[in-house]
């Protein structure tokens, strides 16, 4: 096999994630270090083998989390990149290590994503400001007081609800029930994943009748806040070729690693355009990997809200153009469907500790491609895609492939 490994290729050598949950008795560094050590052990390498470390922990982006992990697992003096890119932070950490390997500056690197959010509650949108005693324009829009709730919503469930409703405006067969069905699927999938924050099935009625957050997203159609970490060890093909056969056999090839930002669109100044940059990232990734959507055996995509997952079926080319409603109605993204999507339970049920998310979905795809996913294993999986998006915006897409036998 060694002869088949291109020296310029990049591989996932080790992967780990903590269960996503709430860990009031542990801190961010505990969680991140557990995953870092776990990924090293999984790849059968030591911290001294690591040439570069990239770390993403969004809410502690200025907290030198990468260096603090080194204090726990080994201060070897290698370069550390602490990255922040909204909900694409974890994918950005992975991409940073891949770029270092591609540039020839590192042969092996460690990417860690972690977050401790606790019961943070609703994200986005400011609390109503205490009314000023005198109205004076301030900020880039000359606002005399808070605009959230007066000029639309800035809350995450609301912003992504609007993204889904814009799709419903443009395409037939998409409504409240289709969005709810996405959440039904992901809660169902999570019952097979012991690493998921929640592992409980809900009926479609329970989902549609749970408290309304921002129509059409009910509580059970929104991801929770939570704590967790994930890490991957990445290695160059050249370095991998010199490693033992049983280690090589579990390595998973990174066939594409793409990061995009949002290009100008007519409406992007009033609502985040989560579509165009995802389409661009997917196009670039499919071209780089030489595969198409039909080749994918599983997809882990960014279902921060049910409305988001539905529109990404179309953005990633998993369904016919405009056909996301029909795709979910026909069972396409269920684990026994045409293209299983979020068999982990997705952000909606597996959880979304922000910095960890983009690493955890690479862990998930890697685990399936190795055939090590236990009860939730997608049988015979050989190609998978991991997608995340962070508002502002950043989109990360990684395509992974099982090693040739």
């Amino acid at each position: 096999m060694a002869a088949r490994i291109s020296p310029d290729s990049v591989w996932v050598l080790g992967a780990h994630m903590t269960r996503f949950a709430r860990y009031p008795d542990r801190d961010l560094i505990d969680l991140a270090s557990e995953s870092a050590m776990g990924a090293l052990a999984d790849g059968e390498v030591a911290v001294g083998d690591i040439d570069v470390l990239a770390c993403g922990a969004l809410f502690q982006a200025s907290g030198a989390v990468g260096q603090r992990i080194q204090k726990q697992i080994g201060q070897t003096g290698v370069p550390v990149y602490n990255v922040a890119n909204a909900c694409a932070t974890g994918a950005t950490a992975i991409r940073t290590v891949i770029m270092a390997i591609k540039a020839g500056e590192a042969r092996m690197g460690l990417a860690v994503g972690a977050e401790q959010m606790g019961k943070m509650g609703l994200l986005g949108g400011g609390a109503a400001k205490k009314e000023k005693k005198v109205f004076e324009p301030s900020g880039r829009y000359g606002a005399v007081t808070g605009v959230d709730g007066r000029l639309g919503t800035e809350t995450m469930p609301g912003v992504f609800a609007q993204a889904g409703m814009a799709y419903a405006h443009d395409h037939d067969g998409v409504g409240f029930e289709q969005f709810a069905r996405v959440a039904y699927k992901n809660h169902l999938h999570s019952t097979l994943n012991p690493l998921a924050q929640y592992q409980k099935e809900f009926s479609l009625d329970e989902i549609m009748e749970s408290p309304m957050m921002s129509y059409p997203n009910t509580l059970l159609m929104c991801c929770p806040t939570g704590d967790g970490a994930a890490a991957v060890v990445l290695v160059s093909g050249e370095r991998l070729a010199s490693m033992p056969a049983h280690v090589r056999k579990r390595a998973v090839k990174v066939s594409a690693s793409v990061l995009t930002s949002d290009p100008f669109t007519e409406d992007c100044h009033v609502q985040p355009d989560v579509n165009t940059l995802t389409r661009n990232a997917a196009d670039q990734a499919y071209e780089a990997a030489g595969v198409g959507p039909d080749d994918l055996d599983l997809v882990e995509l960014h279902d921060c809200f049910a409305t988001a997952e539905l529109i990404h079926y179309d953005n990633l080319g998993l369904c016919e153009p405009g056909g996301a409603g029909e795709f979910i109605d026909s069972g396409g993204p269920f684990r026994d469907g045409a293209t299983p999507v979020n068999v982990s339970g997705g952000l909606i049920s597996k959880g979304h500790p922000i910095g960890a998310t983009g690493v955890a979905n690479v862990f998930e795809v890697t685990t399936h491609l190795r055939g090590e996913a236990g009860d939730r294993q997608v049988e015979g999986a050989s190609v998978g895609l991991a997608h995340v998006i962070g508002l502002a915006s950043a989109c990360g897409v990684h395509i992974l492939e099982k090693a040739a036998a």
């Binding site: 609703l122 949108g125 400011g126 609390a127 109503a128 009314e131 000023k132 005693k133 005198v134 109205f135 324009p137 880039r140 829009y141 000359g142 606002a143 005399v144 007081t145 808070g146 605009v147 959230d148 709730g149 007066r150 000029l151 639309g152 919503t153 809350t155 469930p157 609301g158 609800a161 609007q162 993204a163 409703m165 814009a166 419903a168 405006h169 409240f176 408290p211 309304m212 957050m213 921002s214 129509y215 059409p216 997203n217 100008f264 007519e266 409406d267 992007c268 100044h269 009033v270 609502q271």
Partner: protein, 132 residues
């Protein structure tokens, strides 16, 4: 004497009739409600004020039931495309906040309403869109 009025945001102009004013790129016509160093689409640095059409179509909405403390709910958050192709974010007002009353693609018209006064008696005025 009528109390002084001040718009909620500076791109809402109250006189002679309430309307929005965008910064329009003189090169490609892209419109923005804040200042830009260069046009985000074409890169040109020359902008001029442009009056935005008051009528438009509701292109996306959500009915917000859970918001930050102090923000009254439910309300209808809206993405409107005006008849001259300008995209605006605001609320749908004078409309029942239910999916039955709010329709994707419905025609809407700019309107304004007071949102309270400061200690000097100056009244702030917000804008929204109402069904027509």
């Amino acid at each position: 004497m009528a109390p002084a009025r001040v718009p909620l945001v500076d791109y809402l102009h109250l006189e002679p009739e309430p309307h929005l004013v965008a910064n329009e790129c003189r090169g490609c016509g892209a419109r923005f409600f804040d200042r830009r160093n260069a046009c985000a689409r074409c890169g040109l640095t020359d902008f001029a004020p442009a009056e935005v059409a008051g009528a438009g179509e509701l292109r996306a909405y959500t009915i917000v039931h859970r918001a930050a403390p102090g923000i009254p709910v439910p309300f209808v958050s809206a993405i409107v495309c005006t008849d001259d192709g300008t995209w605006v974010r605001s609320n749908v007002v004078n409309c029942d906040p239910t999916p039955d009353a709010v329709g994707l693609g419905m025609r809407v018209q700019l309107t304004t309403y007071p949102i309270g006064a400061d200690d000097d008696g100056t009244e702030a005025v917000a804008f929204g869109y109402e069904p027509v």
